[in-house]
Amino acid sequence: MPFSIPEQELMEPGHTACHGCGATLSMRYVLKALGKDTVISVPAACWAVIPGAMPNRTLDVPMVYTPFAATGAVISGLREAFDIQGKEDFNVVGFAGDGGTADIGLQSLSGAMERGHNVFYFMYDNEGYMNTGVQRSGSTPYGAITTTTPIGKDRNFKKQNKKVVADLMMAQGVPYVATATIAYPEDLIRKVNNAKKINGPKFIQILSPCPVGWYFPPEKSIEVSRLAVQSGIFPLYEFQNGVLKVTKQPRPVSVREYLSMQNRFRSLDEDDIKKIEKYAEERMEYLIGKEKETQSS
């Protein structure tokens, strides 16, 4: 059987990620696409602890730990240093979680993208601060229960909608923006390969389900991320040279099915579910409208 994704492995087994971790799969696919000439910069995130304690390494590429807020700044510096040394073909990669991207690292990400360095920025989106014990982040969706938005008597689940950083980057005019998820590795690797061809900043948001923080059994990781796309909760798109393309059309899977798989949505009633359905529909309409608008112009 021909392999549908590259056979080369740059992530070694024996790491300390939880059972069924989506973030490790994100890293595995990204490294398969990027290859050996890569430097990865990781802020405080799940990926700062997955390789294990100091003498251990899980990645066969250099890894730079950065302060939480500085991923964008560090990859800018690495890129300029490599350019001065004449190593233009090295890939400089920032690999941050959603806390380090949507909340704490947003200013340095925005700055790095604005200055136009030739870098990759991957946001593995597990919709919360999962490493520190499931706190709410800007990327947590409406209706989710976390330890800082606990259910209680008042049903204090998160009342705000998800901040989609890929949309922010698109509005900022970053040359390459895409969303991907671990259930479609071929699509993810194709997007990284497309991004490689662009000389400028690249931003890819990867939805990485977290069995611990989303409260579902670990064997369902891939199924949950597939349902997120098929139900239209997390549309996959690619924004390249000012043209938007929705790469996976949602199938008729109900949002309810996606929500019912995860125990973090257990306190939602009918009205809340309708609200989420409406939000997903509106976002899909917005993207399809934008797709038509950019492709015709």
């Binding site: 059987m1 070694e12 087994p13 024996g14 059972h19 251990n56 390494r57 670990p218 990781s221």
Partner: protein
Amino acid sequence: MILAPLADRSSRANHTDSWRILKPEIKYDKCIRCMICWKFCPDNAFTVVSGEELESPNPRVAALEAPVIDYDYCKGCGICANECPEKCIEMGIETKMVI
């Protein structure tokens, strides 16, 4: 010249088999060698062996490369069994106790 601390020990030295409660087992007579289990393994616990080492009733399938679970690293999350299109991976109870 080393300017930064180097992590030169591969995490392969760190066996994660004691994390396992359920143990996956591939039934090679039903396996079609699609490698979907290998593709979706978050622990990278599959090795790929060349064909003809494992038996299959279909000789064309037997000649293909096949996935083999490395039980030193498998954490038993069950993604492979859940995603297998032929449902030929069975999750049994892990009986080996590691202390």
